[in-house]
């Protein structure tokens, strides 16, 4: 089997010749490959060279999960709350990329989204962090720069595929409306209060934003040619919401969004950070054999296999702390357990729990990448 067949077999709940390994490796590869995080985010050629050195020294991978390599300009453009970006606005070039909690929307605005038109409203918010989007010349400049980066990223994806490394999602990043509102518009705390104080307004905003979110994702799928989308979920997790809030507010969105992509033949990669364990039974309502559940090490991945193993491909979850502070033997043992227990009857992809940390021990990453060859369930 080649890398793509191996991944696709696991996604369809089959058993490939071996467990595929598909980590989020961009931050680590940048540091290991000797470039700054700024260069990794803004120069795809340098990022590719750094990744090449990493894989050549530490071992091959079947694919890259999400990668921000070369997409810095796009990240600056599309997020209404600008992330902490290495080398930008006083952040050191080798600093760490991070999202920031900041409210850029008042609670009264929920009801205005529909009225203003959701796309125009999102653009208004983007202009707050990127004022140049307010004039046609600035808009053209920003989008042409992003367009060039997308073309370069497309070439990179093809180069890596020829070398047996599949890009899972490239820049196909999609949010459910509530995750989007919480992360980029209202901040976590305010969003949670809104769920108590004005749940109907939040629902109305969710309905208004669903289509633009789907349109944005569809555009990315068309541009990248990759029929998978990365959907981050944190703020609607079992760590945060009560089951009642989840059933009433968040689950309908997750279902609608996943159904939409599956109808289009696109595989949702559900990248679920924080603890989703108590909500695993709800995920049976998503289409069977069509989604990937990617956990970050906080949820109980073994429970996920028990509850959802015959329903969706499980992906994860070598913890960041283990990769940074553990010993290779400990990483090897954890990966062995994942591979032998979760991969025993297929439907499993080995990955990092969220990202391989920028400062992981190389020998630990090596142990993780080697484990899929060492252990055959």
């Amino acid at each position: 089997m080649d890398a793509l067949e191996r991944i696709e077999t696991a996604v369809r709940l089959g058993k490939p010749d071996r467990v595929p390994v598909v980590p989020i490796i961009d931050f680590f590869a940048g540091r290991y490959g000797g470039i700054t995080q700024h260069d990794m985010l803004f120069d795809i050629d340098k990022a590719d060279m750094a990744l090449e050195k990493t894989l050549s020294d530490l071992g091959p991978i079947d694919g890259q999960n999400l990668s921000y390599a070369g997409l810095g300009r796009i990240m600056q453009l599309i997020f209404p709350t600008p992330p902490v970006m290495p080398g930008v606005r006083g952040v050191p070039p080798d600093g760490q990329f991070q999202f920031v909690e900041k409210a850029v929307m008042e609670p009264e605005e929920y009801r205005l989204i529909e009225e203003r038109g959701p796309i125009r409203w999102i653009l208004d918010k983007m202009k707050l962090s990127t004022p140049e989007l307010g004039n046609p010349a600035g808009l053209l400049k920003a989008f042409s720069g992003a367009g060039r980066d997308i073309i370069k990223a497309g070439r990179s994806i093809k180069r890596w595929r020829r070398r047996g490394v599949e890009s899972m999602v490239a820049y196909n990043i999609v949010f459910t409306p509530m995750e989007y509102i919480s992360l980029f518009m209202r901040s976590f705390n305010d969003f949670i209060l809104d769920l108590f104080r004005r749940p109907d307004d939040v629902k109305a905003a969710s309905r208004a934003l669903m289509k633009p979110m789907q349109m944005q994702g569809s555009m990315m799928v068309r541009m990248s040619g990759l029929k998978r989308v990365f959907m981050g979920g944190t703020r609607t997790s079992a760590s945060c919401l009560s089951p009642r809030q989840f059933e009433d507010l968040a689950l309908p969105e997750w279902r609608e969004m996943c159904d939409f992509w599956v109808r289009k033949g696109v595989t949702p990669l559900l990248h679920f950070d924080s603890d989703w364990t108590a909500f695993f039974p709800y995920l049976k309502e998503l289409p069977r054999g069509k989604c990937i559940l990617n956990l970050d090490g906080t949820s109980d991945i073994f429970a996920a296999k028990e509850v959802l193993g015959d329903h969706m491909c499980i992906m994860g979850d070598v913890p960041a702390a283990l990769l940074k502070l553990g010993e290779p033997e400990e990483v090897d043992e954890y990966c062995r357990r994942l591979i032998m227990e979760l991969g025993a009857d297929g439907g499993f992809i080995l990955s990092s729990g969220c990202t391989i940390p920028v400062d992981a021990k190389p020998e630990n990453v090596k142990a993780m990448l080697a484990s899929v060859h060492k252990y055959r369930p």
């Binding site: 769920l195 945060c240 970050d296 702390a321 502070l325 920028v358």
Partner: protein, 237 residues
Amino acid sequence: MGISEPARRCLRGNGGAVIEIGEAGMHRRLFGAIAGLREEESLVMVEEMLEAGMDPLRIIETARRGMDEVGKRYERHEYYLSGLIMSGEIFGEIMNILDRAFEYGLAEEEKPRVILGTPLGDVHDIGKNVVSSLLRCSGFEVVDLGVNVHPSEFVKAAEDSGAMVVGMSALITSAYEAMRETVWCFERAGFRERVSIMLGGGAVTEKVCEFAGADAWGRDASDALAIARACYGGEAR
């Protein structure tokens, strides 16, 4: 005692009839409203109780018991982070109402103090804020230093406040070094023996606790509360 129309609306029983209740009943209703996370009802009750001339210190005590109940429900996994955040908001609003009721503000009683912050290099604050809410619910005074906090700021805050517990929460692995540096800073300042240092956050494990030289670590806000209580010998609540 007179009852205003908003309070009447909140005090209606299932059949729509106003339930006439005495002072003890009002306290019970306030407790129930806070524990049930009913914001509007809680605030109307407090206004009404003040108008009726009830003792504000008893109102605070009832509000604290309501918060305490929220904390217990969270520990029993009947409530989730969302409930904790909502209850913190309700309590803050009640304290604002009570503060406004007194020209010189309410005299604060002495409470066990905890310093919280996200260490240098990390700007994530969700976990820290949740721990802060639960500790406040449970009778602690929290000195929240915010995010990206320099090690020396933790030491200064502990020195100024006399807190015996310092908590750091982080989501990224590069904050481990800042956590360790903070522990060293307490040692260099000669404060290490006086404070207990606890860690938490998505990227923290037993190994991280050992690496940083901290005293304890927790998986969630309930763990943080248990640690803080243990450090104060079971005080608070």
